[in-house]
């Protein structure tokens, strides 16, 4: 037997419940929320453009990077490096990067590590070129995802940084990066990586490697600015990224990338 009091109570409750929109049950995405709040005050998303046709393998970018970012000069670690690819007439591919090309390529001999040096005759070369490599500042960075302590993260302008005070040096991120960009810093004992010279780009300067390149093979731009010359090239010309199939959405674009490049 339902009393009048009970009936009114339950009716009020069910009407209130039915009146609630489904929107209140939605899980709020912090990124969406923040995007709606910050609006458009100079939105920046840094991207990099490498023209492999222009690169001559001088390695001045690697030298500048190591000195600018205090990466131990003689240690075999570097934030950026240049790879040399030599494809011979019989279809074999040889690639090397002695000392990360810190001193450039001043020999025709290919460094094959324990297999020794290999001198390829000029007549046997089908094609040969240089490919500068650096952090891709992925939109979906696997290195950030695996960090167990929250020491590495992506800034709002798209650069992935490492918090040296918070990093425990476990090395998960070094293994997670499909591009082999991260390494263990021999002095700080933390993970280390290219950050597009974050201290320079936030002051309006170019990254050290971009400034050091005499041939204009390296460029940086803001993909959110449609007037940026780098953005125009990425949008209107034929560019490629490395290891697209990994779904990391890399933000370093290459002109003249070849299938031999891994």
């Amino acid at each position: 037997m339902i009393t009048r009091r009970d009936f009114i109570k339950k009716a009020a409750l069910s009407i209130t419940g039915a009146a609630l929109p489904f929107a209140v049950m939605e899980i709020i995405d912090p990124k969406k929320l923040s995007a709606s709040v910050t609006q458009e005050k100079g939105v920046v998303r840094w991207v990099f453009l490498v023209d492999t046709y222009k690169c001559v393998g001088c390695g001045l970018c690697v030298k500048a990077c190591k000195l600018e970012n205090e990466v131990p000069y003689d240690a075999t670690v570097t934030r950026t490096w240049v790879e040399r690819y030599v494809v011979t007439r019989d279809g074999s591919v040889f690639a090397d990067t002695p000392k990360g090309a810190r001193d450039g390529f001043t020999t025709t001999k290919i460094d094959r590590n324990s297999a020794g040096f290999l001198d390829i005759k000029n007549g046997d070369i089908e094609k040969a070129f240089f490919v500068p490599k650096l952090c891709n500042q992925c939109e979906n960075p696997p290195c950030v995802q695996v960090c167990p302590v929250g020491a590495t993260y992506q800034t709002p302008d798209g650069v992935v940084l490492v918090d040296r005070t918070w990093c425990i040096g476990c090395g998960y991120c070094i293994m997670a990066c499909p591009y082999g960009v991260r390494f263990y810093h021999p002095v700080y004992h933390t993970a280390e990586k290219c950050n597009f010279c974050y201290h320079r780009i936030t002051k309006g300067l170019m990254p050290a490697c971009v400034d050091a390149c005499p041939f204009g093979a390296r460029r940086i731009g803001n993909i959110k600015n449609s007037d940026d010359p780098v953005t125009k090239i990425i949008m209107n010309q034929r560019v490629a990224v490395l290891k697209e199939e990994y779904g990391t959405k890399p933000q370093v674009f290459y002109i003249g990338l070849s299938k031999e490049v891994k």
Binding site: P30, K31, V56, A128, P141, T152, Q154, D163, T165, F215
Partner: protein
Amino acid sequence: MKNHLLRPLIVIIGIVFLVLLVRFVYVPRDFGIGERGYMYGWHRAANEEDWKKVKVKYMGREYCKGCHSEKYASIIKTPHRIIQCENCHGPANDVAGDHPSEQRFKLTIDKTRQQCLRCHFPLPYFSSGRAKIRGINPDKHNPDIECSNCHNPHAPQEGLR
């Protein structure tokens, strides 16, 4: 509740409380998930500022021009104008000091043959720009002396000095 159940429960609650207390003290206030959510966002917000504070070492050719305007004016007329001063002269600022400063922080100029060979060692890689640069065989072309003994890197087209 019985005593043998209650006592371990108190211990467990104590441990949980202790962990939360340590976390409260140890984890900085600005540590959070940021804009990228739970999968990518965990970080300490102040670290972004830490990275911005890193000292700029390479100042660029316009900075050098401020004092060495005559050198700038001469090299800008040559094919070597594309090379930044600091690529050979070393970065203007260093951990040790700035150039120029009261301590007269001296730059170390890289005059080695290796420095010139970065570009001028001939490599016949026709799908790159390298093949277009003139080169020498370093084993045969005056192997014992520095390139700058004969060539002026600030005016390479002017012939030998």
